[in-house]
């Protein structure tokens, strides 16, 4: 969708006290306030507010249709919010930027379904993601320097794909593709990583390995993980936000949430 959707002022959705961007805390890397999105009458996000602090590892859970993926779409510029505020690093208004600009600001994203460039090699995939000049004419004459090659090797090591360097990405196993995508995120070296269901379809061993990988990454980046798998969330051991029907239902540690009545009702009730 590319056309700018005219903001539909939703009287209910607009928060009573409008907080200006400058008032956001300096260490808030992602500031979402009162964001609403609707598709043909269906409210995918309903007055959603969420704040992520720099360096934080945050997990987001919620049942199907809670708006997790739409939230990611909004942050990365794929979907324009109908209303609400969205700031990155305190002052950059994300609602005015497109995907490429947002990516270049330092927000990386991993999709729900592993999306790597299947017809290209693992090496090429990482090379494409490597932080650098994204212009066409630079690309025509670009060369990989020694430092960059070393960086690639380092990431290959981290995602355990060193031996698959020259393989077509399409030939990798499902789990390996997930890692490759995480590796691509690392190559981008973003300030904020949005990771959508990294453990989906993985074996237990792979899941464990992935959790370790993310924790490691979280040491140097802010990470937001969307996940279904409670075991995995537990392994991440971080602050958790529960989404329901497009807004935040509860927040806190996993243990506290597991005793929250609302959360139990949403997951088990009905």
């Amino acid at each position: 969708m590319s056309e700018a959707v005219s903001p539909l002022p939703d009287t209910e959705a607009v928060p009573v006290e409008q907080r200006a961007a400058s008032q956001a805390a300096a260490d808030t890397i992602l500031y979402m306030d009162g964001v609403s999105v609707s598709f043909d009458g269906f409210k995918a996000l309903n007055n959603l507010s969420l704040y992520v602090v720099a360096g934080e590892l945050r997990a987001i859970i919620g049942p199907n249709g809670a708006g997790k993926t739409t939230m990611m779409d909004v942050i990365t510029g794929k979907t324009r919010p109908d209303s609400g505020q969205l700031f990155f690093n305190g002052s950059v208004d994300l609602t005015k930027l497109d995907e490429a600009a947002i990516a270049n600001l330092g927000i990386g994203r991993k999709f729900q379904k592993p999306t790597v460039f299947e017809s290209q090699s693992v090496l090429d995939n990482l090379d494409l993601a490597l932080k650098g000049n994204r212009r066409v004419f630079a690309g025509l004459f670009a060369r990989l320097g020694k430092a960059q090659l070393e960086r690639i090797d380092e990431v290959l090591e981290r995602i355990a794909l060193t031996d698959f360097r020259g393989q077509r990405a399409g030939n990798l196993s499902h789990g390996q593709k997930q890692w490759l995508e995480i590796g691509m995120l690392l190559m981008q070296d973003p300030e904020l990583l949005l990771v959508d269901e990294p453990a989906a379809g993985m074996t237990d061993a792979e899941t464990e390995k992935t959790a370790v990988m993310l924790q490691e990454i979280a040491r140097s980046h802010s990470v937001v993980v969307v996940e279904h798998d409670m075991e995995f969330i537990r392994a991440l051991d971080c602050h958790v936000t529960v989404l329901h029907e497009g807004s935040v239902l509860a927040e806190g540690s996993l243990d506290s949430l597991q005793n929250n009545r609302d959360v139990i009702e949403v997951y088990l009730g009905r």
Binding site: S2, E3, T76, K78, D98, E99, A100, A103, N104, G108, R109, F111, T115, V116, F117, E118, S119, Q120, S121, L123, D124, D127, L128, A129, R134, R135, V136, G139, L140, F141, A142, R143, L144, K146, Q148, L149, R165, G166, Q167, R168, M184, Q188
Partner: protein, 381 residues
């Protein structure tokens, strides 16, 4: 040290070496066999074959330009014939100006069709075409500019897939109708014809034809090299990435629209060049080159040869056009059955086209396993 640009491998796959070798050989051999070998000898190539093969080479260049955007970037243009035709018209305008007062009405300023339709003076957009360098510039600029405007609008609004294909079709259809109009000043349905000479050489002389043929072959070879150079560069890999997963590329921070625009404009320019080489060899340019059916045929050449293989596009163009030449002469009443059948058979039995099927055959051989795992692979080769 590995390069991000793989230009060292520009010629490494067998296909490209054969292609270039062939092109350069025919560029020398065919004119030689035409001019130096006496008629009647077994090795003599008659002039009509020179022109015919020259025409095939122009089509091959056109197919190459389509493969560049379709095979490598996933942009299916069903209107590429428009760029070809525009290049052709530019060359046609230059050739018309070269006629001077040798037209049937002997008017030194106006082409015959303008005299005929009562035009009093040369319209402004015909100015400058007497100059060959200017015309040559326009050959790439006019199609390039149209592609720039059209592409900028389309790619910026992220028109993709069939929507893009259909509006490219609308574009060429609109141009077809526009060029049909006699009021446009491009000769209407009859188009531009009755050319006399190019750069002072008589277009009907064997030498000129041979030279045009050689030029076409060399241009095609250069075009091929240019395309390979792009494909082997990082840009090439971004293009393939766009073809395979466009939104992923955006989230990596690439401005997909600029990449698409770059390759689309370049492709349009190559198509324009092909058109410009085509016109002096066939002797006429008229609006039927804009017809959507023509553009669809170009896509079919590429599909038959093998989408995503540059030499496949060349092979497809030559093969399908040769089949057309042969069948319309040998089986004039039923040739469409064969051609139509060929298209269906290729899609059903050789979904990757001829080259694609050949190379997947090659991939199945044990040799493939032995290949150096660290060697970069350009998808499609």
């Amino acid at each position: 040290m590995l390069l991000s640009n793989d230009h060292g491998r520009l010629l490494s796959p067998l296909g490209s070496r054969i292609t270039l070798g062939l092109l350069l050989t025919v560029a020398v051999l065919v004119p030689l066999l035409n001019l130096a070998v006496p008629p009647g000898s077994f090795f003599h190539v008659p002039t009509y074959l020179v022109s015919l093969m020259g025409k095939y080479l122009c089509f091959a260049l056109l197919a190459l330009s389509v493969d560049l955007i379709w095979g490598y970037c996933g942009i299916l243009s069903l209107g590429h014939g428009a760029f070809f035709a525009l290049g052709g018209y530019v060359m046609g305008m230059h050739l018309m100006r070269q006629i001077g007062d040798r037209g049937v009405y002997g008017n030194p300023d106006l082409p015959d069709f303008m005299v005929f339709l009562d035009w009093k003076e040369l319209p402004w957009y015909w100015y400058g075409f007497d100059s060959f360098p200017f015309a040559l510039l326009m050959v790439v600029l006019v199609p390039g500019l149209l592609a720039l405007v059209f592409g900028w609008l389309a790619f910026r609004s992220r028109v993709t897939g069939v929507y893009l294909s259909i509006i490219t079709q609308a574009m060429t259809f609109a141009l077809l109708l526009a060029f049909f109009r006699n009021d446009m000043g491009f000769g209407g349905n009859n188009g531009l014809t009755d050319f006399k000479e190019l750069l002072g050489f008589n277009l009907q002389a064997d030498g000129t034809r041979a030279a045009l043929f050689a030029t076409s072959a060399v241009t095609l070879a250069l075009g091929y090299l240019l395309c390979r150079w792009i494909i082997c560069s990082k840009v090439g890999r971004v293009l393939i990435a766009i073809r395979d997963a466009e939104s992923r590329v955006r989230f990596l921070g690439y401005r997909v629209e600029f990449y698409k625009l770059f390759v689309f404009v370049l492709s349009a320019m190559l198509a324009g060049l092909a058109g410009a080489l085509y016109v002096p060899q066939v002797g006429i340019i008229n609006p039927s080159e804009f017809s959507p059916a023509q553009s669809i045929e170009i896509v079919i050449w590429v599909a038959v040869g093998g989408r995503g293989y540059l030499h496949g596009a060349i092979l497809g163009a030559v093969l399908v056009n040769y089949a057309k030449t042969y069948l319309t002469g040998a089986l004039p009443e039923i040739w469409l059955f064969f051609l139509g059948g060929l298209f269906i058979a290729v899609t059903v039995f050789l979904p990757k086209g001829i080259i694609g099927s050949l190379s997947s055959l090659r991939d199945r051989l044990p040799v493939a396993i032995m290949r150096n795992p660290f060697q970069r692979e350009v998808p499609g080769e």
